[in-house]
Subunit: 291 residues, 2 copies
């Protein structure tokens, strides 16, 4: 295993150029310039490596080096430079309360809009001005679980490479195509061109997601628009959609939070696309369960 | 409006007994002793007041006093002591980065298990060792939105009166009966006795939530068990249920996060209970939409 460490301390020096370069990537402007970001924790690091993401550097603490020996060895064998750092330096890079001792510098993974606007895209999530990185990462993870083909971070949405977004995506950032920085209007137009219906998730919509007619329409290729966690979707963005739909509120809550609403919408789509609308309650299509 | 404030500073003194008493409620042991907790922000405060919760004291900052004049006046008129505090004191009480200037000391709202174990309870969420207050509060909010009749914080689950749990419930703590500190086994037995089927949400289960047979069974009264955010439900808790069901993973994500999985399960139940299984895709039952 090729490991960079000072002969004095056993650690990569705090002034090492690689460490300095990594530290800068906690800031968006530097991420944009270098087209690289930080992925923290064994899950994210393993997913980055196994999904073929370009890993530029790997930073590990001494305890993590023994705990994740096989993964680190495999990465070192693949030619990825491994740097041993102190817990303190790791904490600074990881920006979490309890860093897990493993952090990779990865090349950007996002793709251009043209790559996802194909007739093969049956289910797409469009984030319109989603600002909270934890929410955005959770929706990305849920979209992946629901079998979505792509997620678009549109308009003023958070940077998908924000540390908290990467973390809450739980590896999904590396699983499915992500488009960063697209205009919502462009994404909608391009997806509609290849046959997707555009549906806005809007708590104020008159149509309920539980209306069977809505669900029947969701059996076709669909792109969902999800709005900001605090103020939802303004009318001019709702107007871009072919239909707007509300997750019904059956109790006394004023609304659902964004990630919960997106989970209900995306799974309703996934189910509608898998159940043929024949006979009672549809016919379960075998072998699409994923279980 | 009756307002307690020092004639010198315009603020309730930092050593005021009411403020000291409130400050102690940031700790669980004191909450248990006093059977009182802190609800922060205009939404939580308004919900507490309007839902008939006993509000013992109301703390407000000067900017919040003008911003929420009507609510504060109504609460003062109802005999609730209003104390004006500095932004600094509010920050200490609210334990948030951006306190909203309004905080109520409320009496506990939880109810005994016997109160929710009636045949009228058609949909109940049981939290089994859910430790993260943000997750627990979000599930409570989602359960409320899905029209659940009660939420049980069972076994080693987080305290529902934890500040972050109250905040992420977005008022739902005041909307539906909450049972705190029950044993899961007791809750399961009592709910089964009144006719509810017990379903465990378990990512490792062989049965998919999207199986129409599972959905047909969900049309009846159901209590869902949701497990810990990191390790899920251990086999001995899964064994308490009549059936265990997985939210299917159609993509490459390893799992869903707890709040997203609970949202999909609870809304699947809500839908199954509302759609009569007649004819194609069931018949939409009018007037249950809530829209």
């Amino acid at each position: 295993m090729r490991v960079t460490a000072s002969p004095d301390t056993g650690y990569t020096g705090a002034h090492s150029p690689r460490l300095k370069a990594a530290r800068r990537l906690t800031k968006r402007a530097f991420r944009q310039r270098e087209r690289a970001f930080l992925a923290e924790g064994p899950q994210a690091v393993a997913e980055a490596f196994h999904c073929g993401t370009r890993v530029i550097d790997l930073f590990v603490t001494v305890p993590a080096r023994s705990r994740h020996h096989d993964l680190i060895t495999a990465m070192a064998d693949a030619g990825i430079p491994v740097h041993v750092v102190s817990g303190e330096v790791m904490g600074e890079l990881a920006q979490t309360v309890t860093p897990q001792g493993l952090l990779a510098v990865c090349g950007f993974v996002d793709v251009p809009l043209s790559e996802i606007t194909t007739p093969a895209s049956g289910l797409v999530a469009l984030l319109a001005n989603v600002r909270d990185p934890g929410n955005a990462g959770t929706v990305l993870r849920t979209a992946d679980a629901a079998g979505a083909h792509a997620v678009v971070f549109a308009d003023a949405s958070v940077d998908p490479y924000n540390g908290k977004c990467v973390r809450s995506s739980a590896g999904s950032l590396f699983h499915l195509p992500v488009v960063a920085g697209a205009r919502l209007e462009d994404a909608v137009a391009a997806l509609r061109d290849v046959g997707l219906r555009i549906v806005a998730a809007d708590g104020r919509a008159g149509r309920s997601l539980d209306d069977p007619e809505v669900q029947a329409r969701l059996a076709g290729p669909t792109a969902w628009i999800f709005g900001n966690e605090a103020w939802g979707l303004p009318p001019e963005l709702v107007a871009l959609a072919d239909e707007s739909v509300a997750v019904p509120i059956y109790g006394r809550a004023e609304s659902l939070n964004l990630a919960a609403a997106a989970a209900v919408c995306l799974y309703t789509s996934a189910r509608a696309q898998r159940v043929r609308s024949e006979g009672e309650m549809g016919t379960w299509v075998e072998g699409q369960d994923g279980a």
